[in-house]
């Protein structure tokens, strides 16, 4: 990480305690542009806390998160989104009562209209460009056949892909994925890996939190290992794979 100009997200000296529990202790992390950066670690290591600090859901006790020139700490979730940091949740957060197409149109409107626009007399029928783009993204993720269905009726794997579509239509500068394949069947997981690889070829920067080592080693350019709120190892997949500290703390050697 020598080239500072390529750093998209810079987490510096972040601390967070819940009651007496040290959830994050002195976390330093640099995410390089265009790279897929995986954060792994056992349950309770602080992965989700770290992600929540990055998107403004949690305020750190000390330290700062900078996105380019902007400080993310203290900003609201919608301000962070408008800067181009978009998040996929561990349990899919979609609009269950709306159709898939509407689900994807809404984030496209957010990208175009900003955080508030009173377009009460416009017509969605007139927004052909927007609707076409939404259809393209759904097609890209293989959801085009269901686009007029109500999204609540989809399978869990499809909901996750829908959420991914909702994030991708915003062309984020940084995409944060919280266990994008948790609870998925193997073939669904492989499909998601394939999709994420395709996005990578478009140069989108991604941070992935993941349990599944198959996913991590298929996608990541760089891995940070978190254990008990601290980063215990940091490097390329090969470096991390060979690190005895990591094997002891998390992998147990068996998964590799």
């Amino acid at each position: 990480m020598d080239n500072v100009e390529n750093i998209v997200l810079n987490v510096s000296a972040v601390q967070k305690t819940f009651g007496g529990l040290q959830a994050l202790s002195n976390i330093n992390l640099q995410i390089e542009e265009g790279k897929t950066h995986a954060i792994i670690g056992p349950n309770g290591a602080g992965k989700s806390t770290l992600l929540n600090v990055c998107v403004g859901l949690l305020a750190p006790d000390s330290g700062a998160v900078k996105f380019g020139e902007e400080t993310l700490t203290g900003k609201t979730p919608y301000e962070i989104n408008q800067l181009g940091v978009v998040r996929v949740f561990q349990t899919p957060e979609i609009f269950p009562e709306l159709t898939l197409l509407q689900n994807v149109i809404i984030p496209a409107l957010a990208k175009r209209d900003g955080e508030f626009k009173f377009n009460a007399f416009g017509s969605l029928v007139g927004e052909k460009e927007l609707v076409d783009e939404a259809k393209d993204v759904l097609e890209d993720l293989g959801l085009e056949n269901q686009m007029h269905d109500i999204s609540a009726s989809m399978s869990r794997g499809d909901k996750r892909r829908l959420e991914l579509a909702m994030c991708l239509i915003q062309h984020p500068k940084l995409l944060l994925l919280d266990e994008p394949t948790a609870g998925m069947a193997r073939h669904d997981t492989n499909r998601t890996i394939e999709i994420l690889k395709r996005i990578k070829s478009r140069g989108m920067t991604k941070v992935i939190i993941e349990h599944d080592m198959h996913v991590v080693f298929s996608l990541a350019d760089h891995i940070s290992v978190l254990a008990q709120g601290a980063i215990i190892a940091d490097g390329t997949p090969d470096e991390v794979r060979g690190n005895p500290k990591v094997q002891e703390a998390y992998l147990g050697g068996a998964h590799l």
């Binding site: 919608y78 949740f89 009562e97 709306l98 159709t99 508030f116 377009n119 009460a120 017509s123 029928v125």
Partner: protein
Amino acid sequence: MSQQSPKQDLMWMAVFTAVVLSMPIWMEPFGAAYPDLLQKFAIFGIFAIGFNILFGLTGYLSFGHAAFLGVGSYTAVWSFKLLTMNVIPAILFSTILAGIFAVLIGFVCLRRSGIYFSILTLAFAQMSYNLAYSVLTPITKGETSLQLELNDPRILDAAAVAGAGLPSTELFGMKLSGYPGFYFCAVLLIIGFYISLRIFRSPFGLKLAAIKSNQKRMSYTGFNTRPYLLSAFVISGMYAGLAGALMAVTDPLAGAERMQWTASGEVVLMTILGGVGTLIGPLLGAGLIKYFENIFSSYNEKVLHDIFSFLPDMLENVMVFIVNPFVGDGWHLTLGALFMVVVIFLPGGIMEGYARIVAWVKKDRSQPGGDDPHVAKPQPNEG
């Protein structure tokens, strides 16, 4: 929230206009074709349509919308007293003032959601109601209610002829009582419905529906939800103000009881009874409740004896005995029972019942058997 083509929408508007304007004709067999009741249909229709923009689209249940109704009525009567008997300034001022009130109340109440929002709005409305009876009596005239007087200034109108009675509301010389009053309200209802239709179909409306569906996702999608909610709140408050003004137009007096919580509750019942979040449902709910209130409450034992006179005496007396508690002063019992039946069996209101019948007829025609009728299949729609 189905997207229909603008052409279909225009057709629906045409049908809607025809149905509303011909109400004096087709309401005749129901015994409801008299101006007083028809005006109420239109006025409460406007109130319910506006309420539905807030409750139906965003899911925020306000229990204080009667406050805006009251503000609208008082403003309209003051406009009649001070400026002119012409109704145009009255409804403009009422709508705008109700909107300003809604900005203030909404700004505070929308800091909370769910039940806390409902309680806050209820508290504000009850506060307005009590203020109207106490410290604000110079403006509201308290218990005597605000009325027209012979010595009102009415600075824009020609001086009244000595000895003439109280003037009536008018639209450029046309007196707005009876049927003209109904048609005036009906035209505003049609305009109000059209605006609501446009909002439902707009990107703004879609965003409101998305807030109802998942507010967390909305803020992570980059939307500041507060101004959206406030806009919806203010729009629905303005509809309520307009409805209040029209009450004063058709009967120029304003009392504090218009702001009471029962009036707020009534519009909630109307919306739920008709179908929350549907375009036409709240109107049906408003019509049904006003019909019950006016028709069922006018029944008494003698009328019931006439209705059941075809039965043998013994049975007639039994029927009258059974039905009597549900009519006259007991019409609330009928309404309550109906409301319970709808909420338990048709949570989506009358419109859900209609959708189920349509689905059932369609399925019956295409494929016997098939899937569960309780799962309403959304219609394929074109974006």
